[in-house]
């Protein structure tokens, strides 16, 4: 394993940490299960790619707009969640993911099935970072996102989220505005996924529709749930684990996916709150 490859893996792992933490805002805090998170990730990445390649905008601008547009679509696509709940929401978000990917694929402006290639490397003060520097740069954003999560857990937003997670009707009846908090959750989540999309687009130098398809949403959800829904450390652990696990399992190359699936099933059966969840074994081990 060369050093460059390790740096690339670290970058991927960082991007997925941001993605799983952002999905955790929806699932863990606000209790809205979404299986279409890759759609927001894709919207962020395509925003950056289109702006950089077609309009020649610089890195700072594309970053900002990716986050804003990601957040805007989070807000927009969060609106259906005001009408649909539970399993219906799961299905609606699955559908959303397919529709977004189909739009990327079939509209020429987005490059069609071949995507958009040729993003310039991200430049900071006129300098390129290289793989190691970029890994560090993504780590910087991970820290920012973690701080944001800690902040959310401290302020009143958290109590609103918890109220709608536990019981929407009861929350509504005691004066918690359910629509407001749902929209907050979707907007924050979409904006952070947009950030991850920007980081991804500049890491790869290109974007393809299939990078943001349904299986990616599944992976992100699995990271959150495996690590521990509703905690900060859980989704981080899940993201790191599932990014590096396939690499560690490389020696059994041919059985990788089989094992991956089996691990998910077994962990969920015996650790249903996640490894670092409220009743997770790892959490208990650390407590002692």
């Amino acid at each position: 394993m060369t050093l460059d490859y390790l740096y690339t893996l670290i970058t991927f792992s960082n991007i997925f940490i941001i993605l799983s933490l952002s999905l955790n805002v929806l699932i863990g805090y606000a209790g809205q299960v979404s299986l279409g998170h890759a759609a927001f990730f894709g919207i962020g990445a395509y925003t950056s790619a289109v702006l950089a390649v077609k309009f020649g905008l610089g890195y700072g601008t594309t970053l900002l707009l990716s986050v804003l547009i990601g957040g805007f679509f989070g807000f927009l696509l969060g609106l259906p969640s005001l009408r649909v709940r539970h399993d219906f929401l799961v299905l609606a978000t699955i559908g959303l993911n397919f529709v977004v990917v189909a739009l990327f694929k079939y509209i020429d402006f987005f490059g069609g099935p071949y995507g958009i290639i040729g993003l310039p490397a991200a430049k900071f003060f006129g300098k390129e970072l290289g793989t190691g520097g970029y890994a560090l740069y993504t780590a910087f954003w991970v820290v920012i996102v973690i701080l944001l999560m800690i902040y959310i857990e401290k302020i009143y937003l958290r109590y609103g989220f918890e109220a709608i997670r536990e019981n929407e009707d009861a929350a509504e009846s005691i004066g918690v505005s359910v629509p407001l908090f749902k929209i907050y959750a979707f907007t924050i989540s979409g904006a952070l996924a947009g950030l991850a999309g920007n980081l991804w687009a500049y890491q790869m130098g290109m974007v393809f529709p299939d990078d943001f398809s349904f299986p990616v949403s599944i992976t992100i959800l699995t990271m959150v749930v495996l690590g521990g829904v509703g905690t900060i450390s859980g989704p981080i652990l899940g993201a790191v684990l599932l990014t590096f696990l396939p690499e560690l399992l490389r020696f059994i190359q041919d059985y990788r996916l089989l094992l991956y699936g089996i691990i998910i099933v077994i962990v969920m059966m015996y650790q249903p709150s996640g490894l670092l969840g409220r009743q997770g074994i790892l959490r208990k081990a650390f407590k002692r």
Binding site: I27, V33, P80, R83, V84, H86, D87, F88, V90, L91, A92, I94, G95, L96, F98, V99, A102, L103, K105, Y106, F214, I218, L221, T222, V225, L226, V229, D254, Y255, R256, L257, L258, Y260, G261, I262, I263, I264, V265, M268, M269, P272
Partner: protein, 285 residues
């Protein structure tokens, strides 16, 4: 006319797959994504037994029975243990199971498309401007027979009534002395066997069977149960045909922007938003 026949054939397969999902969702409220893996298993078992015995009907029945048993296994060894947990747990398990199943099939049967050549010795029906191939006849007639048998089962037998009772209220049904375990197991058996039938039929129709054949179908079937109103069997049947007709007609009408998959999901999102109980709501819930 040809379009109508194609749509009917496609719809038949959607319906056969969705019945299992609908039964399972209706009773346990689990989004059984691994059902698509069960469907693929059915196709592979059918192909394998056909290659071994050379008798299509024997292969079909063996595949349905074994796949049905596999479905019961999924319930009693996996889902049953996590029913009391948060809803997201069985969902993620189902996804993990689907991933593992697909990879298992790839290891056993190989990653490439395998042909499923079958000649029933029936003549194609040729009419004015349309042809019904022997495989289409096979699909339409087997689906018809299955649906009639299913109707009789659900409405005329004790087991069918017990299944309906469990779908209405699982705890209450248990309290009234219905053997819930047995009923749920049977629902898994029935649903999985029908998925196997669909898998074999599609394998024959498209003349290939491959590990990831369940991908597209798995999500489509969810569209069907949404349209049909979660848990409603007759709703699922009607919705399956509506979806197949909508897709076939829109694709036949050239110049439509979106691919057929996106159509299905767009319709699903709209239905969820404006008519979340589905187009055909079950009266009792």
């Amino acid at each position: 006319m040809q379009i109508v026949i194609n749509a009917l054939v496609l719809g038949s397969v959607y319906v056969l797959i969705s019945i299992g999902l609908t039964l399972i969702y209706g009773i346990l409220r689990i989004l059984h994504i691994a059902h698509a893996g069960i469907y693929t298993l059915g196709a592979f078992l059918g192909l394998t037994f056909y290659a071994l015995t050379g008798n299509f009907w024997l292969a079909l029945i063996l595949s349905m029975v074994l796949t049905g048993i596999a479905g019961v296994g999924v319930y009693s060894y996996i889902y049953r243990r996590v029913l009391s947990k948060e809803r997201i747990v069985p969902l993620v398990i189902s996804i993990g199971l689907f991933i593992a199943m697909q990879d298992l099939y790839r290891l056993i049967w190989g990653a490439y498309k395998k042909p499923f050549a079958l000649d029933l010795g029936i003549n194609d029906i040729k009419g004015k401007g349309f042809v019904i191939t022997q495989h289409q006849i096979l699909i339409l007639s087997l689906t018809g027979i299955s649906l009639i048998l299913l109707y009789l089962l659900m409405n005329k037998t004790k087991l069918g009534k017990a299944m309906k009772a469990c779908a209405d209220d699982l705890v209450m049904a248990g309290a009234l002395g219905i053997n819930v375990e047995r009923v749920v197991s049977f629902a898994f058996f029935l649903g999985s066997a029908l998925a196997a039938l669909a898998g074999v039929l599609i394998g024959v129709y498209e003349n290939n069977v491959y590990p990831t054949m369940g991908d597209e179908v798995s999500y489509k079937a969810f569209v069907v149960i949404v349209l049909g109103g979660f848990g409603s069997l007759s709703g699922a049947v009607v919705a399956g045909f509506i979806l197949s007709f909508a897709e076939t007609l829109l694709v036949a009408w050239k110049g439509f922007l979106l691919p057929r998959d996106a159509i299905a999901f767009l319709v699903m999102i709209l239905v969820l938003m404006f008519k979340p109980e589905g187009l055909f709501r079950r009266a009792s819930t």
